[in-house]
Point group: C2
Chain length 141, copies 2
DNA sequence: ATTAATGCAAAATCTTTGCACTTTC
DNA sequence: GAAAGTGCAAAGATTTTGCATTAAT
């Protein structure tokens, strides 16, 4: 039952973890598959944990948090700060910005080339601009 | 002892609260003075509470939270989301953006005209862009 | 075998709430 | 004196930590 369809994604995700220097444990593999095999995604720890439960993957919430942070540190995910109450993680590592739908607390990507920021001021000496985040806060009406 | 210097700011802050439809209670007046008589400021609830203690103003942390939210709702403050762990409030209501110094967790204003965002995409039908936040995340090196 | 990762529950934050008491109008 | 605001402590929510157990190399 190990046909091309099931083997390829497994290998992809596995290599991705290996390359990042993370041991491909059962939990990390399972979470990575949920995260990276579904296109661009925006998840919170709570959401990913619930999804794992549904998929019959036994993993604790603490491990989900740890894993999300490890993936972020390893450059597999990016943390997006839009809500002071919750952390969101984005699987899209390309240069881009976000819509944040305040009514539904949903994030949506805006392709990088659709927002252009000019006249960026220079930061104080000895500092570097690590990232430019543009968030379009959207609500009904 | 009621000379111009002491009367004027008091009246300004008082009117500001009145205009906003907020009763000028002892606590609100004291917090408003701390917030609005020191130029543009970025505070957390914890910071403002500590400042009040130092100034011998007896006010509970819960009241500081309530007051910050009331001021925000009344249009006297603006909440800035840069850290998923803490809420920041900005006394500068003019159109502008922010530097966020990740090493020190400090916010700094960037005048509105120094950042220009073009090519803003249109949001889905029935939705409005309520605000465009640009955050330049800065760190050492 | 070594070393790293996991799970759990407990702790740590930050923020909100409920309700009796106090202050403002 | 009616209505609004405050304080406190308790509850909520999210996230992190410590440590014994389990799994990966």
């Amino acid at each position: 039952m190990t046909n091309k369809e099931s083997i390829r994604p497994y290998t992809q995700v596995l290599d991705r973890l290996r390359t990042a220097g993370l041991r491909p444990t059962r939990q990390r593999l399972a979470l990575a598959k949920l995260l990276f095999e579904g296109g661009d995604r925006h998840v919170t720890a709570e959401m990913l944990h619930a999804e794992a439960q549904t998929a019959a993957i036994r993993v604790s919430l603490a491990t989900v948090y740890n894993t999300l942070h490890q993936f972020t540190t390893a450059g597999l995910l990016r943390e997006i700060v839009v809500d002071s109450q919750r952390s969101y993680f984005d699987t899209n590592m390309a240069d881009h910005h976000h819509f944040f739908f305040e009514d539904s607390s949903q994030l949506e990507d805006i392709p990088g080339h659709e927002v252009i920021v000019t006249h960026l001021p220079t930061p104080p000496k000895g500092k570097t601009v690590k990232r430019v985040d543009v968030i379009l806060r959207v609500s009904d009406k």
